[in-house]
Amino acid sequence: MAYQQALSQGFTSCDECHRLVQVADVAKVTKLNKGQCQRCPCCHSVVRVRKPKSLSRTWAWLLTGLILLIPANMLPVMEVLYLGSGSPDTIMSGVLHLVEEGMYPIALVVFIASVFVPVVKLVGLMVLLVVVQWKLPISARQCTYLYRMIEFIGRWSMLDLFMISILVTLVDLGSIASITAGAGATAFASVVVATMFAAKTFDPRLIWDLRASIYE
């Protein structure tokens, strides 16, 4: 069966309502100025053939995430003050505490959500970007599956942030015991946001554009 890219036939789908739109003028769809752009007949949103400046924007968010990942893991995410003496906890030491206390399933959940997922997202997106930029002959279907997984798992990293916001209110006993958030948590939250934006700005159709000639 012959597969055809919609773009090669002069069509594209609207990002918002997924309606097929005939591209009137390629110059109009690639312009960044919204006033001169073609609009979807159904939902009136701006029609783009591909997400604008997808690669450079994804690289920018990705590098932001990578840089922020260092303070996120080095600085304490929260500090437990018990009778005046404090013990700062980084993400990894929090997981290790859970392991020491024998709570393996929860330790695994926290490890996956706050250590594994951000790293997998960053590495996965980097692989996708390299594949598109260097035109590597890797299965486009596998790459699309990877992209979908990255898009799906991103939100679960927020777990750490929500957990801190709960703990901060639960343990609030003045001088006896209290938990305060740490600077690492701010960095970690920014990593999650940066990787979510990185996944949003990446356009998986770019992977298939490279291979259009193979399938025809």
């Binding site: 036939q9 305060t180 948590a185 159709r205």
Partner: protein, 222 residues
């Protein structure tokens, strides 16, 4: 496939392009509980949902009833030596703000409180206006906004946060699960049901139909 098939302008209604791999595909009518998938990259193109709008209306309305108690009543209460710490969804944000972590407070507020509320209100307004068969210029705007909020509403992740907090704190003192936990779970369940029954594809089709109808009526009255 020949290129000439696509050349007429009316064809855009019977063809679609996969949003993940840009494959040009003919649209087939699918019946109940069927899913249209892209043959090349397996992306879900369209899912047939029965009574989509009525279900969304019912679920989002019932979820909204539980929104205020779930946010203001204590979800967890921790008792250490007679001192109690209470957690509600709102005071978690407030405490973070108080401690000077405004960026975290902002993110927690947006992802666990504001966006879930916006999402429910938008789903409700969309389903009401489609149910009433009346076109308002706000309708396309609300559908677009709902699409935007859906990736930032993380109510289900908050549940995982609660579970981890329970496990971590259970041996520190006397941990009591509050009434709001039940409200929160019901809110979460109804929100997920509303999202599951909501059909954005159908909402756009209905919007286009209603707009055409309202424009025809205007011409007729003239």
């Amino acid at each position: 496939m020949k290129a000439s098939i696509y050349n007429t302008t009316t064809d855009t209604e019977h063809w679609a392009a996969c949003h993940d791999c840009d494959l040009l595909l003919p649209i087939h009518d699918i019946t109940e509980s069927q899913v249209a998938r892209c043959p090349r990259c397996n992306a879900v193109l369209y899912r047939h949902k029965k009574n989509s709008i009525s279900k969304t209306l019912a679920f989002s309305l019932s979820a909204l009833l539980f929104y205020i108690p779930a946010n203001t009543l204590p979800i967890l209460t921790l008792d250490i030596y007679g001192n109690t710490g209470r957690n509600t969804m709102l005071n978690g944000v407030y405490r973070l703000w108080e401690q000077g972590f405004w960026w975290m407070a902002f993110l927690v507020a947006v992802c666990s409180i504001l966006m879930p509320l916006f999402e429910l209100v938008l789903l409700l307004t969309i389903s009401i206006s489609i149910k009433r068969q009346r076109y308002t210029p706000v309708l396309p705007f609300t559908i677009k906004l709902q699409h935007l909020t859906s990736s930032w509403a993380m109510l289900e992740v908050y549940l995982l946060g609660i579970i981890v907090a329970i496990v971590k704190m259970s041996d520190l003192g006397n941990l009591v699960l509050g009434q709001a936990l039940v409200c929160y779970l019901v809110l979460l369940a109804f929100t997920l049901c509303a999202l599951q029954s909501y059909d954005r594809h159908y909402a756009w089709q209905a919007t286009e139909f209603l707009r055409d109808k309202s424009q025809r009526n205007v011409n007729y009255e003239k």
